[in-house]
């Protein structure tokens, strides 16, 4: 026999417990057997593996091979400095790996800290005493005490209950409170049984006592949570990009290495020289600082997003946001405030009252049409009746109870009404069959009943109404018709309509009709502008809600959300996947009456037609869809832990407009990465060209490998990072989403990086090197300089030729399309800091002996430094002209 079909005594025997609860020592033993009552994350990240995996990335492997070859070269031909090159390369690999890992680790830890839950305390009976314990220590057989507002910590069978209602929305998406009973003869499965309580649900009203039958993963909540664990996720666009970038650059590096090794062999340079050349070219081609800069840039972006209420769990998701083409959003709480607001009252005498303000915490004014001296009193009577017949309460920020009741209480507070302190005798509870509730009070020496409910239920129970003079008159057809018309008018605008009545005695009959109230969960004010931004940004928005089509369309209309048609949950069930894909290709749909598990179908269909989907959700049953979507967005305030766990991003304020802000940041990150990849690639050319020239021409060595590493892992890092934290460009939300086929490392990046700016930088470096040598008496053909100082100075000039160009390159690269002057000189603080550090670094290269020894640099006379000036200026001006011509061209195309 299933647990929910057993009677109390059998349950006690089965679970070896009693009315007095478990003995403490028994509970302790059971805790060992069953484990903690918590849904643990199944896969704990192994940081050791994560760290060492940094050493098997493409770039790292390439450098490691180069490092090993350096030591091999040193073994066969010692004292040529190959060992120093080897150490330098391995140093670069370790710095790179540690830095990248550290960024990811920090992001993970920050996330863990944010997700760490406060313990949920629950009441249980143990050793015949009611005690409060952390819910994770609950075990099967515990006797659970449930009261209004409690979160149910485990599955259990009720053995006592008093008007117990649970909010099961986290399990089945149903927001109406579900009544509980002690017996359920009809249920076949535990989840259907009305005499069961379930983990993850909350007690809306009433109280109960239950025997715990299952904890942790064995609960219904735990089972659904398990559904989220294996939705296979594809690689994020960022991961694919990084793979693509590293592959391309690795191929280029290896290709050039092999070519020059072969050339070296065929010429008379010998194997050793050829190998060193090949190695140097590989090192020069690999942008060692690229991966840590990308990680750091994503990490900074996620911090900026957190400030805008979007908490990013996975760094790579930042960039995915920039590619989002569809946002599938919930209505309640995301587009709306999830705070029911009473906006209109229609009194039985025909006066209309409009109430301003929205939500639970705003003030508001009452504007009454056709009022007389009695109207205020009748409004107060109606509100008082509503408040007296309610269980909800608002104390400061502490809100409890049914949302529609809260709306009436808030309206009463706006009117500053004092609720009479009458004694409540009993309550006739609400049920979905009765569609009304009543409270019976002792009012002085009389007994009075206060009722509220659906109009079609309350009205037939009324025999009288209050007219505009405050007189009680018999209800007639004309008045009934007027009330019905008004209710219809409210309902067609998607208001929830409640009728309020009062009467004498304890019976729900012969009541006096007071009026109707129109309540709505209003849209957030920030949503309409955010939707407008999405339209401009080419992002489709699809509302997916559990509400009925009428309410959904009314809200869509209010916020300016366009859609072609409404599809309900039942209709969706009958639409095949292929058919749904065709519909979604053609139309924008508003999905109404949806359950959480249908979201998965929608997300899959959208992804199959090539959309990049951002999907919001809060319940446990939303979790599979959140995991499946390209960006799963969980609600920080109302979301369940399972939804948060399954998501890529958490909205701290549950607000739709925060998603749009996050998308803006995502797009910004995409273009910022493009900018700093171009910036980093630019400096590869002045690193490569000196080697090629030295290979083909009879000139001394212009640049050492350690100097290459000083650019890649030193002077390029901070400015690159500053580019990564550049603010959004002004047209960022006026362009289409970043396409799936758009690559960061596209021809434009190559063109600008390698063939335009790179060539200028290489020219700058070589001109500086050769002119300096020329001014100091060098003649073409002399390869080995006898003066080591001159050799070091010449190499320093090559290095400075590249570094000074990069100093201005970073300024012109601040905008991909617009003028550098439009960005504001002081708007990027990190860039200013980077500049100061860069100048300090150059000063150290020229003046600090210890630095000079490591990086093979030497002081340069001031009179020679002018050589470095023309090329950075040329670079800046020419790139600005390039962008201007591109803007003109794009404008013409537009």
């Amino acid at each position: 026999m299933q647990s929910f079909k057993m009677d109390k005594q059998i349950l006690f025997k089965k679970f070896k417990t009693s009315q007095s609860g478990l003995k403490s020592f028994e509970a302790k033993k059971r805790l060992d057997s069953f484990g903690l009552n918590s849904l643990e994350q199944k896969k704990k990240k192994n940081y050791l593996i994560a760290y060492f995996s940094q050493y098997i990335q493409f770039f790292a492997i390439l450098l490691e091979v180069a490092g090993v070859l350096s030591f091999v070269a040193d073994h066969y031909v010692p004292n040529e400095g190959s060992d120093i090159l080897g150490y330098a390369i391995f140093g670069a690999v370790i710095i790179n790996a540690t830095f990248t890992f550290w960024q990811e680790y920090k992001a993970d830890k920050a996330m863990e800290a944010l997700l760490k839950l406060m313990p949920t305390m629950v009441k249980v009976k143990r050793d015949d005493e009611i005690i409060t314990i952390d819910s994770k220590f609950i075990v099967p057989g515990d006797i659970l005490i449930l009261e209004e507002g409690d979160r149910v910590p485990a599955d259990g069978v009720l053995i006592e209950q008093n008007s117990l209602y649970l909010n099961l929305s986290s399990l089945n998406g149903e927001s109406m409170p579900a009544p509980r009973s002690l017996i359920d003869e009809e249920a076949k499965r535990a989840i259907e049984a009305k005499n069961m309580v379930f983990a993850g649900t909350t007690v809306v009203s009433g109280s109960g006592i239950a025997i715990v039958t299952a904890t942790a993963n064995a609960t219904e909540f735990g089972k659904i949570a398990g559904l989220t664990q294996n939705v296979q996720k594809s690689l994020t666009p960022m991961q694919k990009e990084i793979i693509s970038i590293t592959k391309i650059l690795t191929i280029i590096a290896i290709f050039m290495g092999i070519i020059f090794f072969a050339l070296g062999l065929f010429s008379d340079k010998g194997v050793l020289i050829a190998s060193i050349f090949a190695l140097s070219l590989i090192v020069a081609n690999v942008p060692e600082g690229l991966l840590p800069t990308i990680t750091l840039s994503l990490s900074l972006a996620s911090q900026r997003m957190a400030k805008r209420n979007a908490l990013i769990k996975n760094l790579d998701s930042v960039e995915t946001l920039g590619s989002a083409t569809v946002i599938c959003t919930d209505k309640t709480g995301t587009l709306t405030k999830n705070e029911m607001t009473l906006k209109h009252i229609y009194l039985s005498s025909g006066e209309s009252v409009n109430i301003s303000g929205d939500g639970y915490f705003s003030g508001g004014e009452f504007e009454i049409e056709n009022s007389n001296e009695n109207t205020n009193k009748r409004v107060e009577e109606l509100l008082n009746t509503g408040v007296l017949n309610s269980r909800a309460s608002i104390e400061g920020k502490n809100i409890q109870g049914d949302p529609t009741e809260l709306a009436i209480i808030v309206a009463s507070n706006k009117k500053q009404l004092q609720t009479p302190n009458w004694q409540k005798i009993r309550e006739i509870t609400f049920s979905s069959d009765r569609k009304m509730m009543s409270s019976i009070y002792q009012v002085e020496d009389k007994i009075e009943i206060f009722s509220k409910g659906a109009l079609e239920v309350i009205l037939p129970k009324c025999s009288s109404y209050i007219d505009s003079n405050g007189e009680k008159l018999n209800l007639n057809e004309e008045i009934i018709s007027k009330i019905n018309d008004k209710a219809y008018e409210f309902e067609s605008e998607a208001f929830r309509v409640l009728a309020i009545a009062t009467g004498s005695g304890e019976e729900e009959a012969n009541l006096t009709f007071l009026g109707i109230v129109a309540i709505m969960d209003l849209p957030r004010v920030e949503v309409a502008p955010a939707i407008e931004t999405c339209k401009r940004a080419g992002i489709k928005i699809m509302m997916i809600t559990g509400d009925n089509p009428l309410t959904a369309s009314a809200i869509a209309k209010k916020i300016g959300l366009d859609y072609d048609r409404v599809i309900t949950g039942n209709e969706l069930e009958n639409i095949r996947d292929e058919e749904l894909e065709k519909i979604l290709e053609r139309e924008t749909i508003l999905f109404a009456r949806m359950s959480g598990n249908q979201k998965l179908k929608i997300a899959s269909a959208l992804q199959n037609i090539g959309e990049v989907v951002a999907m919001t959700g809060d319940g446990v049953n939303d979790a599979p869809a959140l995991k499946k979507a390209d960006i799963g967005i969980a609600m920080g305030l109302s979301g369940t832990e399972v939804a948060k766990e399954a998501s890529d991003m958490i909205l701290l304020d549950d607000n739709f407009s925060s998603i749009v802000s996050a998308i803006e940041e995502g797009r910004t990150v995409y273009f910022n990465i493009k900018k700093f990849v171009t910036y980093i690639l630019s400096s590869n050319v002045p690193e490569i060209v000196p080697y090629i020239l030295q290979f083909f021409f009879k000139i001394p060595l212009p640049l050492s490998v350690i100097q290459i590493l000083s650019i890649d892992l030193g002077s390029d890092m901070l400015p690159g990072l500053a580019l990564g934290s550049e603010k959004p460009e002004k047209n960022i939300m006026n362009r289409a989403p970043v396409g799936k086929k758009e690559k960061i490392l596209d021809w434009e990046v190559f063109k600008r990086g390698y063939f335009f700016i790179g060539i200028i930088e290489a020219t700058s470096a070589m001109v500086a090197f050769l002119l300096f040598l020329h001014f100091h008496g060098w003649e073409y053909g002399v390869v080995d300089l006898n003066d080591p100082l001159l050799q070091k100075q010449a190499m320093t000039m090559t290095l400075l030729g590249a570094v000074t160009c990069q100093l201005l390159n970073v300024w012109t690269m601040r905008s991909w399309e617009f003028s550098a002057f439009s960005m504001g000189f002081f708007s990027n603080k990190l860039l200013l800091v980077a500049m100061v550090i860069e100048f300090f670094w150059i000063w150290m290269l020229l003046n600090v002996e210890a630095v000079q020894n490591v990086f093979n640099t030497a002081p340069i006379p001031l009179s020679d430094l002018w050589i470095l000036l023309p090329f950075p200026i040329l670079l800046f001006v020419s790139h600005e002209v390039y962008k201007w011509r591109r803007r003109v061209k794009l404008e013409i195309v537009k």
Partner: protein, 274 residues
């Protein structure tokens, strides 16, 4: 022949004994309710548990015997087993909370070389030991030993349950996007042909067996996902004897499954042949 069930007075060990009872009934074995007096468990609770089990065993017409031993549990049991002939399988429950330096009874048992099969149960639903209708056995691709299959078949027979072999083929993340339809078909056909004789065997003993396939990046998560989707009551998995060192290298799929399974799960350790 006999089947041993280790009883310690806890509801989990009582549930395991009921599984042992069902198993014993299939082969008409005697069920030995064994307890090693160790000062930790309440003797009264143990006796009560045994009474409950004996009561049910009577209904199922299974012979039971009580055995109380004294001493260090593992060595005492080993001695008992070595001196007693005709023991088929030892059933016991495992605790989920692990202590690094103090292994659970079941862990110690599976590490000890015993000439019998061991079935270690992780109980999460106290009430499903007699209500089992659906049994599943996940396997990696087509890897299935005769002994594990026999135990699975015995449990299916014991409950006359519906059964399923869930074959999970692991595909790494990088190859996930390149899953090709023809290669997939070939792979599935290969697995099916390897498992075909098991289906035939089931038919011979009048039981129905389903075989389902899944491709996944993570075997353990795929199995847990499958369990969440379906109404299984019991899962049979192959046990893996793990050393302390192998634990240091992170959780193995079997540990993940045992720890997070939403249904009762039995890890079967076949006896080591000499």
């Amino acid at each position: 022949m006999r089947v041993i069930s280790a009883v310690n007075g806890l509801i989990t060990s009582e549930s395991v004994a009921l599984y042992a009872l069902k198993y014993a009934k299939v082969y008409r074995y005697t069920l030995i309710l064994l307890h090693v007096l160790n000062g930790e468990d309440s003797e009264d609770e143990v006796k009560k548990s045994m009474e409950n089990i004996e009561e049910i065993a009577k209904e199922y017409e299974v012979k039971t015997e009580r055995v109380f031993l004294e001493g260090t549990p593992i060595s005492t049991i080993r001695e008992y087993i070595e001196n007693t002939n005709n023991i088929d399988t030892l059933f016991c429950a495992t605790r989920i909370r692990k202590r690094f330096f103090s292994h659970s009874f079941s862990e110690k048992l599976t590490r000890t070389k015993l000439p019998i099969n061991i079935a270690v149960f992780r109980i999460v639903h106290v009430n499903s030991a007699l209500l089992t209708e659906n049994i599943v056995m996940p396997i990696k691709s087509s890897r299935l030993s005769i002994k594990k299959f026999t135990f699975f078949a015995s449990m299916v027979k014991a409950y006359e349950a519906k059964s399923e072999i869930y074959s999970v083929t692991v595909v790494n993340r990088w190859k996930w996007h390149d899953i090709d339809i023809s290669a997939t078909k070939e792979r599935l056909e290969k697995i099916n042909s390897k498992l075909y004789h098991y289906i035939k065997l089931f038919k011979l003993i009048n039981l129905h067996l389903h075989i389902k396939h899944a491709f996944s990046q993570n075997e353990a998560e795929q199995v847990l996902h499958h369990l969440s989707h379906h109404n299984f009551d019991l899962m049979v998995i192959g046990g893996q004897r793990l050393s302390t060192f192998s634990r240091l290298l992170g959780e193995k799929p079997i540990e993940v499954i045992l720890k997070h399974s939403p249904i009762n799960t039995v890890a079967f350790y076949p006896k080591k042949e000499k």
